[in-house]
C-alpha cells in the first residue's frame, strides 16, 4: 500500500551528519543544564541526631567545626537552628573553607553565606548552597554573628561529639559537642567522568543507525517507514488533534480557558482540603500538589481517551483505511496540548510561592516526551483490550483510582513504609512526578537514575502496547 518513493536521491550521509550534530547540540545543552547531576551521584552525610544546642550565638562569637566529607562535590550544607521561639535580630554568617582557619585569608574561603536571622522560623533549617567541586575530604566551618545580643540571638542544634563528628570549637574552646550539619554533595561517577567520550561514541552509533535505518532506496527500512508515515499521516494527526481540541470546549462559554482554570481550581480545592484538614509538612505544598495534579490528570485523561479511541472511531475504521494506531496516538496528543497549556497556571503557582525558575526547567520537555510515550503505550494496550472486552473502560476507572492513591500526589512519599517502597519504585507515575518535582521545586536536574527510569518505563510500555496493538489490529474491524 505504500506509495512508491525514491529515497535514493536523499543523501543518507547528510542525514546522518545532521542527526549527529543535533545530537551533539542536545548533549551540550544537557551538560549545561544538568552538569552537576551528570557528573556526580548523590552522596550525603547525615546530620547526627540532635541532643543539645550550642547556646545563643551573639555578636563576636566564632564557632568552628570540622566536618569529614568524602564526596567529590559539595552542593549544600544544612544546619538545624532554633530561635527560642522569639523574634531575633542580626545576621549569621557561615563560612566554609577547605583550609583550617589559621589565618583570616579570604582566599581560603570555599563558600560564605550570610542569613538574616529575623526571618528565621523556629526549628527551621539553614541551607548553605555550595555547588562546587571539592578537593579535600575535610571541611572547616565557621559561624559568626553580627548584631545579635543575648536574648536576641538564635542557636544551632548539636549532638555529642564522636569520631565521625569532631567537637566544635567556640571562640577557641572545644566544647565536646558537635554541630548537627547535614552535608549534601555527590560522588564523581564514571558516566560523569567519561561524559564526552560517551556522548561521542553514542553519537557515532546514532549516526550509524541513521545510515542504516534511513538507508537509500529501501523503503521498507524502519526509518524510512517512519518518515513516510509522518509525511503521509502527519496532517491527519494534526487534523484529528485539532478536532479533539476544538470539540472539547465547543459550545462552552469560557472555551479553552478551562485548560487553565481546571487544574488551577482543582489545585485550590485540594490545597484547601489537604493543607487545612489533613495537614502535611511538605514544603511548598501548592506546587507539590499542582504539579502532581497536572501530570496525573494528563495520564488518566489521555489513557482514558485513548482507551476509547478505537471503539469510538468504529465508523471510520470500518470505512476508510488509516493506520489504526493513529487514533489512540492523536487522542493522547490532543490531551498533551492541555498538559502544555496547564503548565501556565503551574508556572504561575511556582512564581507566587517564591520558587526560582532555573535552567533546569528546560528539562520539562524531556519529561513530557516520556510521559506522552508512556501514555501512548498504555493507550495502545488498553484500546486493544477495549475492542475485545468492553469491560475495560469500567475496569480502567477503578485501576486509575487505585493508581492515583498509590502515587504520592497529595501525601509525602515518606509516609510509604520502607518495605512497601516497591510500590513507588515500580510505579512509573511516581518517577515522572519525582522528576517533575525535582525540577520545579529544587530547580535542579534530577539524578541520572531518574532519567533512566523515565525513559525506560516509557519505552517499555510503548513497546508492549505497540506489539499487542499490532498483533490484534487486523481483528479490530470484526469486533467493532
Amino acid at each position: 500500500m505504500l506509495k512508491k518513493e525514491d529515497y535514493s536521491n536523499e543523501k543518507s550521509w547528510k542525514k546522518a551528519g545532521i542527526a549527529f550534530f543535533i545530537y551533539l547540540g542536545i548533549a551540550f545543552l544537557f551538560y549545561f543544564i544538568a552538569e552537576e547531576q551528570i557528573t556526580y551521584r548523590t552522596y550525603q552525610n547525615e546530620s547526627p541526631m540532635q541532643s543539645t544546642n550550642i547556646g545563643e550565638i551573639v555578636d563576636g562569637d566564632r564557632i568552628e567545626q570540622t566536618i569529614f566529607y568524602s564526596g567529590d562535590y559539595l552542593s549544600s550544607l544544612t544546619f538545624q537552628t532554633a530561635t527560642y521561639a522569639r523574634k531575633n535580630t542580626g545576621t549569621i554568617t557561615i563560612t566554609v573553607s577547605t583550609e583550617p582557619f589559621d589565618t583570616e585569608m579570604d582566599s581560603d574561603i570555599f563558600v560564605q553565606q550570610t542569613f538574616d536571622i529575623e526571618k528565621l522560623e523556629d526549628n527551621s533549617n539553614l541551607v548553605v548552597k555550595a555547588g562546587k567541586k571539592l578537593e579535600s575530604p575535610v571541611l572547616y566551618l565557621c559561624i559568626t554573628s553580627n548584631g545579635a545580643t543575648y536574648g536576641n540571638a538564635i542557636t544551632f542544634y548539636a549532638a555529642q561529639k564522636s569520631e565521625e563528628y569532631p567537637s566544635l570549637i567556640r571562640n577557641g574552646q572545644a566544647e565536646g559537642i558537635s554541630l548537627c550539619v547535614g552535608v549534601e554533595g555527590g560522588l564523581a561517577t564514571f558516566f560523569g567522568e567519561q561524559y564526552w567520550k560517551i556522548v561521542f561514541i553514542t553519537g557515532v552509533i546514532l549516526a550509524g543507525l541513521v545510515l542504516i535505518l534511513f538507508g537509500k532506496g529501501e523503503k521498507d527500512r524502519l526509518g524510512n517507514r517512519i518518515v513516510f508515515h509522518i509525511k503521509q499521516y502527519g496532517f491527519l494527526v494534526n487534523q484529528l488533534v485539532k478536532r479533539d481540541f476544538k470539540t472539547k470546549y465547543k459550545r462552552s462559554t469560557l472555551g479553552f480557558l478551562w485548560s487553565f482554570l481546571n487544574p488551577l481550581l482543582t489545585m485550590i480545592v485540594q490545597y484547601i482540603v489537604f493543607s487545612t484538614i489533613f495537614r502535611s509538612d511538605i514544603d511548598n505544598f501548592p506546587v507539590y500538589l499542582l504539579s502532581a495534579g497536572i501530570v496525573f490528570n494528563f495520564f488518566t485523561e489521555s489513557v482514558g481517551g485513548g482507551l476509547c479511541a478505537i471503539v469510538g472511531n468504529a465508523s471510520l475504521i470500518t470505512k476508510v483505511y488509516v493506520p489504526k494506531y493513529i487514533y489512540p496516538f492523536s487522542k493522547v496528543l490532543s490531551t498533551a496540548i492541555n498538559l502544555v497549556i496547564s503548565m501556565l497556571p503551574l508556572l504561575f503557582a511556582v512564581g507566587i510561592t517564591g520558587e526560582e525558575i532555573t535552567k533546569a526547567f528546560f528539562l520539562i520537555p524531556f519529561l513530557f516526551l516520556c510521559l506522552i510515550l508512556f501514555c501512548v503505550g498504555m493507550s495502545f494496550l488498553l484500546s486493544t483490550s477495549m475492542v475485545f472486552f468492553r469491560d475495560t473502560q469500567f475496569l480502567w476507572g477503578i485501576i486509575s483510582l487505585v493508581w492515583m492513591y498509590a502515587t504520592p500526589i497529595f501525601y509525602p512519599e515518606s509516609i510509604i513504609p520502607e518495605h512497601f517502597s516497591f510500590i513507588l519504585k515500580g510505579n512509573p507515575m511516581y518517577h515522572y512526578l519525582k522528576f517533575f518535582r525535582t525540577i520545579l521545586m529544587q530547580g535542579v536536574s534530577p539524578q541520572m537514575s531518574e532519567y533512566v527510569y523515565c525513559i525506560g518505563f516509557a519505552l517499555l510500555f510503548l513497546l508492549i502496547g505497540a506489539k499487542v496493538f499490532q498483533k490484534a489490529q487486523n481483528k479490530f474491524v470484526l469486533y467493532l
Partner: protein, 788 residues
C-alpha cells in the same frame, strides 16, 4: 493495478459472542470456546487493469462490500493477498469522519485528511470543493445544522476532488437532489474516463451496465462469473428473475419437502374439454410424465377430499370461475397446495374469473406466450413456461412473443381487446417491416394507355426505384422503354387470383377499365373483396361516379383515398336511410357460394386458396349447403387457418340446424374466427351451441322483437346460456330489447354479464341503434388500422 490473489475471508462467530473478560475466561477454562466459522468467500482471484471500471454484483450478503473493504485495506483477508498500486480513495460510505460540531470548512480539512489528502492539496482545491458542493453560504456553520442532503453533497465533493488512481465506490451515487445527482454522476463518469481505476458496487444493475467495462458476480462465496458487463449483467438478471422451469421447480420442491419421494403428484383440473383444452391437458400431462412426475386429470366437479389430500400441485385448465371452483381453490390454499392456472393469452388470463377472484390463492400461471409471462411477472406471479401450449395458434403467439420487444417496443397490451388483435397487429407491423426492405410496388389495372403512361412518368419521377405492375393486355408505347426493369405485368387477371395480387401491392392506382363501368360484374367483385376485408391495401384509389359508394368505402376504412370526397355529407344521409348493408352481404354470399361450388367441381379454388400466403378468406355456410360440402369447406378453412391466414366465417341461420348434425362439432373445434349474425342462432336450442365454448372472441347480439322470445329466455334458456357463458371469457352479450318488453323482472335474469340496450318505439329507428352498435365494433378495428 489491483491484484487479488486467492483471498478468503472468514468471520468467526463464537457460539455465544463473548464480550466480557469474565465470560471469556470462564469459557476458556471450561474449554467451551468454540467458534463457528463463516467464510464470506473463499479463494477469490482477479485482476483489474489500469483505467478499468469494474462492477461487483451479487445478492445481499454475497460479500461485495467485504471485498471492497479488503481492497480498500479496511479489512485484512484471512488468506491470500491483495496488492494495489496507487492512491486509493475509498467511498464506502460518505461522510464517515465528519464531526458534527465543527464547521463545514473545518470538516473539509478533517475529512480530506482522513481520505489521505495533504494540507497543501486541500488548500489548493478548497474553492473547487466549495463550488462543487454549492455550500458557500453555510460553510462556516457547524455541520450539525446541515440537512442530510447538504452533508452528502459536502462529503461527495470532498471525496471526488482528487483524481485518485483507484476509486472504490459502494452505492453512493444517489446523493442529494436530482440536479446534484446528475452532477455527481457526471463527475463519476469524468473520473472514470480519466483513467481512474474504479471498483463499483451497486444494486442498480442498470447503473452497472451503464458504467462498467467488466463485472464480477459474486455468488456463494465464489466468483460466479466475471467478464464483459453486458454478458454478466444479463446472466445475473436472468438468475435473479428466473423463468421458472416448472419441472425443475416442482422437483426441487419435492426434494426439499420429501427427500424420499422423487416425484410429485400433479393433478390437472379441467372444466371443459374443447379441442384446445384437451390438447393442453394432454400436452402437459405428457411433459409431467416425462419429468418423472405423476400426473392425473380430472374434471373439477369430480374432485374429492381424498384427491385434495393426495396431490400437491393443481393446475386448473379451462375451469369456469364459479363459486364451486373458487371455493375449491380456497380450500386448496388452506391445505398448502400449489395452485396454478393455465392461460393461453393475456386477456384470457386477465379476464379469467378464477384469477379475478383468487388472486391471492394461486401461485402461478402456466403461460403460453412471452406476453403473458411478462405481464404475470409484473404482478408477482411465478411463471412456468415449460408447459407450452402448442396449438397452431399458440405457436403464432409464441412467435410473436419472441419478437415482442424488438418489433413492437411500443405495444401497450392493455389497449388490445384480444390476443388475436395482438397477433394481427404484429403481422401488420411485420409486413410493414418487410415493405421497408423492398421497393415500392404499385399496381395499375387501367387499360387506357395514355393515362397509364402519364401515371408511370409521375411515379418514376417521385420514386425511380418503384415497381409498377400493369395489366397484361396493356401495350405501352416505345418511350416507356426507358423504364424497362421497373415495369412488370400481372401474370393474369383471373378473378380468383386477384386477392393475392392486391395483397402484394403497396399502392393501387386506378382500376381495371372494366370495373370503371358501373355495375359491371368485375367491379362488383372487387367491391366485395374489399368489403369483406380480403384485400387490405394501404392506398387504393377507387374511381367511381357513385358518391354513395365512395363515401361508403371511406366510411368503412376500406380505402383511404378517393377522388371525389366532397359528397361526403349528402351521402351520409343516404347511408343512414338505406339498408345497403343487407344487400352487400347478400352479394358476398352469392359470390362465395359460387366459389364453394368450385370445390365440388374440381378443387381448383381450394388448392389456390391453400397456396396463398396472405389472403383473407371468406367462407359462407348456408342452411342449404349439403353436409359433404360443409365438410369440405371446413377442411379448406381449417387448412387455410393453419397456414396463417385470417379466415372469416360467415354463417346464417344455418347453424341452428347444422348444430344437430355431426359436422358442426367439427366446425366448432376448428380454429376459426367466428363472425356471425347471431339473432337467429340464439333463438335456437342452447344445447346445440355447446361448441361455442371453445371460442373466446364471440360477440353475441340478441335481438328481441317479440315478447315471446323474451319469455323464452326468462323461462330458463337464457340462464343456461348464462352459465355456459362463463366459459367464454371474452364473450359479450348484448340484448336489444323493445322498451315495452323491458321490465324490472327482465333485469333479474340478465345478470351481470350481459348488456341491455333498449330499442326505441319506432321501428324505423331500430336500424340506427343497431348501426351504432356495429360502429362501436368497427372502431376497434379502426384502432388497429391506425396503428398500422
Amino acid at each position: 493495478m489491483i491484484q487479488v490473489e486467492n483471498i478468503s475471508m472468514r468471520f468467526r462467530m463464537a457460539n455465544d459472542r463473548i464480550v466480557s473478560l469474565k465470560e471469556y475466561v470462564i469459557a476458556r477454562l471450561k474449554g467451551q470456546l468454540k467458534y463457528r466459522d463463516f467464510w464470506v468467500f473463499q479463494d477469490i482471484s482477479f485482476e483489474v487493469g489500469k483505467g478499468e471500471v469494474v462492477g461487483i454484483i451479487g445478492k445481499n450478503g454475497a460479500g461485495k462490500s467485504t471485498l471492497l473493504k479488503i481492497i480498500a485495506g479496511v479489512l485484512t483477508p484471512t488468506k491470500g493477498s491483495v496488492s494495489v498500486q496507487g492512491k486509493v480513495v475509498p467511498m464506502l460510505e460518505l461522510g464517515s469522519g465528519f464531526d458534527m460540531e465543527l464547521s463545514g470548512r473545518e470538516n473539509i480539512f478533517l475529512n480530506g485528511s482522513i481520505l489521505g489528502y495533504g494540507r497543501e492539496f486541500l488548500e489548493e482545491h478548497y474553492g473547487e470543493i466549495l463550488e462543487f458542493s454549492q455550500l458557500q453560504e453555510f460553510i462556516d456553520m457547524p455541520i450539525r445544522n446541515y440537512s442530510s442532503g447538504m452533508l452528502m453533497r459536502l462529503a461527495f465533493s470532498i471525496a471526488t476532488i482528487v483524481k485518485p488512481e483507484v476509486l472504490i465506490v459502494d452505492e453512493i451515487l444517489a446523493v442529494g437532489d436530482e440536479a446534484f445527482q446528475k452532477k455527481s454522476k457526471r463527475k463519476m463518469l469524468e473520473l472514470m474516463s480519466g483513467g481512474t481505476t474504479v471498483l463499483f458496487v451497486s444494486h442498480s444493475i442498470e447503473q452497472i451496465r451503464e458504467m462498467c467495462n467488466r463485472v464480477v458476480w459474486l455468488e456463494n462465496g465464489k466468483i460466479n462469473l466475471i467478464g464483459e458487463a453486458k454478458k454478466v449483467c444479463d446472466a445475473y438478471q436472468e438468475f435473479m428473475n428466473p423463468t421458472v422451469d416448472l419441472k425443475e421447480s416442482i422437483q426441487e420442491r419435492t426434494r426439499k419437502t420429501d427427500a424420499e419421494k422423487y416425484y410429485m403428484d400433479v393433478l390437472l383440473v379441467y372444466g371443459v374439454l374443447g379441442e384446445e383444452y384437451e390438447w393442453r391437458v394432454h400436452n402437459q400431462k405428457e411433459q409431467l410424465l416425462a419429468g418423472n412426475m405423476a400426473a392425473a386429470e380430472s374434471y373439477y366437479q369430480e374432485i374429492t377430499e381424498k384427491m385434495i389430500a393426495r396431490y400437491r400441485v393443481f393446475i386448473f385448465i379451462g375451469c369456469p370461475g364459479t363459486e364451486e371452483v373458487i371455493s375449491y381453490i380456497k380450500k386448496l390454499k388452506a391445505y398448502h397446495k400449489t395452485v396454478l392456472i393455465d392461460c393461453s393469452g393475456i386477456l384470457e388470463w386477465k379476464n379469467n374469473r378464477i384469477y379475478r377472484n383468487c388472486k391471492a390463492e394461486i401461485h402461478g400461471i402456466v403461460a403460453a406466450t412471452g406476453l403473458v409471462e411478462e405481464a404475470a411477472k409484473k404482478e408477482g406471479f411465478l411463471v412456468y413456461r415449460n408447459l407450452d401450449v402448442c396449438s397452431d395458434r399458440m405457436e403464432q403467439l409464441s412467435e410473436w412473443a419472441v419478437y415482442d420487444r424488438e418489433i413492437l417496443p411500443d405495444l401497450d397490451v392493455n389497449q388490445m381487446s384480444g390476443d388475436m388483435e395482438v397477433v394481427n397487429y404484429y403481422r401488420a407491423v411485420k409486413k410493414k417491416e418487410e415493405r421497408k426492405n423492398r421497393n415500392l410496388r404499385i399496381g395499375c389495372f387501367c387499360l387506357e394507355k395514355e393515362m397509364v403512361e402519364r401515371l408511370a412518368e409521375a411515379v418514376f419521377t417521385v420514386d425511380p426505384q418503384a415497381e409498377l405492375y400493369l395489366h397484361p393486355n396493356l401495350q405501352l408505347s416505345s418511350r416507356m422503354e426507358r423504364y424497362r426493369g421497373r415495369i412488370f405485368y400481372f401474370e393474369s387477371m383471373e378473378r380468383e387470383k386477384l386477392p393475392g395480387i392486391y395483397a402484394d401491392l403497396d399502392l393501387v392506382l386506378g382500376i381495371e377499365r372494366e370495373c370503371a363501368e358501373e355495375d359491371s360484374e368485375k367491379r362488383q367483385l372487387y367491391q366485395q373483396w374489399i368489403y369483406a376485408g380480403l384485400v387490405k391495401i394501404p392506398f387504393f384509389i377507387w374511381v367511381s361516379k357513385k358518391e354513395e359508394e365512395l363515401i361508403d368505402m371511406i366510411q368503412n376504412n376500406r380505402i383511404t383515398a378517393a377522388d371525389e370526397i366532397s359528397f361526403y355529407q349528402t351521402v351520409k344521409k343516404w347511408y343512414q336511410k338505406e339498408k345497403w348493408r343487407k344487400e352487400w352481404i347478400e352479394q358476398i354470399f352469392s359470390q362465395v357460394k359460387k366459389e364453394v361450388t368450385a370445390i365440388n367441381t374440381g378443387g381448383r379454388f381450394t388448392r389456390w386458396i391453400q397456396k396463398q400466403e396472405t389472403a383473407q378468406i371468406v367462407f359462407l355456410l348456408k342452411k342449404e349447403t349439403e353436409k359433404e360440402k360443409q365438410k369440405r369447406i371446413f377442411t379448406c378453412a381449417k387448412n387455410c387457418w393453419k397456414k396463417g391466414r385470417d379466415v372469416l366465417l360467415l354463417w346464417d341461420d344455418a347453424v341452428g340446424d347444422l348444430a344437430k348434425g355431426t359436422t358442426i362439432s367439427e366446425l366448432a373445434r376448428s380454429e376459426v374466427y367466428l363472425y356471425g349474425s347471431f339473432d337467429r342462432v340464439v333463438a335456437a336450442e342452447w344445447e346445440d351451441c355447446d361448441f361455442l365454448r371453445s371460442y373466446s372472441q364471440i360477440r353475441i347480439r340478441i335481438f328481441l322483437q317479440q315478447e315471446k322470445q323474451w319469455q323464452l329466455y326468462a323461462s330458463g334458456d337464457y340462464r343456461r346460456f348464462q352459465r355456459r357463458q362463463l366459459y367464454f371469457s371474452c364473450t359479450e352479450i348484448l340484448f336489444l330489447v323493445r322498451e315495452e318488453f323491458f321490465t324490472a323482472h327482465s333485469e333479474l335474469f340478465i345478470g351481470e354479464y350481459a348488456k341491455v340496450k333498449v330499442l326505441p318505439d319506432k321501428e324505423e329507428e331500430w336500424d340506427r341503434v343497431i348501426l351504432e352498435e356495429e360502429n362501436l365494433e368497427d372502431k376497434r378495428e379502426e384502432r388497429i388500422i391506425r396503428k398500422q
